[in-house]
Symmetry: C2
């Protein structure tokens, strides 16, 4: 009944007070997505939330992270429609409308109407957009690059694999 009780309130005291008998290892039944995976999910969520925050704090050549990401997608996709772009970036259409509006205002992209289907608008990078993308790329990953430079050789190789994993986690639906 007492809500503040015996076992760790949330079950994931990193750095636990060491005054806790640790009730029982409770190893998971063979394979069910048990406690341990759950704790892992939480830690991953928290780490991602914070890292994201840090990344937003770094300016990316004057672009917001969302703009920077969208710019990258446009570069990759060539002349996507707004819908394709929204899909690629996993945002809803209105969000992409606004994002692109801002980038157009800033001269990073050009919008143009599709010939075949006049409901459709496409975007492509402007020369300025390409320059900016290069700048972001070359100079503005400073934070992560610096942080990663602190890793040793082997860890850095690992980082590559792990990034791929992360991409996979976020990718499929």
């Amino acid at each position: 009944m007492d809500p503040a009780r015996s076992t760790d309130p949330a079950g994931w005291a990193e750095r636990r007070p060491a005054s806790d008998p640790a009730p029982a290892p409770v190893e998971a039944p063979p394979h069910v997505p048990g406690e341990r995976d759950d704790e892992l999910a939480t830690r991953l969520r928290v780490a991602v939330t914070r890292l994201n925050r840090r990344l937003r704090q770094q300016s990316l050549a004057g672009l917001s992270p969302s703009q920077a990401a969208a710019l990258g997608s446009i570069n990759r996709l060539g002349t996507p429609t707004l819908g394709e772009l929204a899909l690629a970036e996993q945002v809803q259409p209105p969000t992409m409308t606004r994002l692109v509006a801002g980038m157009e205002r800033d001269g990073l992209v050009v919008r143009f109407q599709d010939e075949q289907d006049r409901r459709v608008w496409r975007v492509r990078l402007s020369a300025e957009g390409r320059r900016t993308l290069q700048r972001i790329h070359r100079l503005k990953n400073a934070f992560l690059t610096r942080q990663m430079a602190a890793l040793d050789e082997e860890e850095r190789a690992r980082a590559r694999e792990l990034t791929e994993l992360l991409e996979r986690l976020v990718a499929d639906r």
Copy 2:
């Protein structure tokens, strides 16, 4: 001179159109935090941005991700001051003021003034806050847990490493 050209604008066309002669492989110089690390940093940044977006879309027992993270920190730290909490969460003081105000309004935490230094305010979890933290923990990492369930045994082990890496990347200054 012409800004639009010859080499790939940003140097990381995943899935290039295949209609492109691919000017020259341009392999990176040996070891300096060069192109390759830079590309990795970009990919990591993009993946984190997107995953974060996905996570925000998932509700966490009615809390925002920031609230959820802060709740976790409070649980870990006990009775932190707002400043300590802001530091832990790597946000500016005003952000933490508002975050805590919201959590207090929602009955998740209790604010109280420090005895020694009356400029200082501390927070602790309420019973409700503890319950919510449990709920978040047990039930509401659905998205990530689900995504991770799709991984095989060995990949899941790597997910753990990934998380540790992210924690390290975000941790030190």
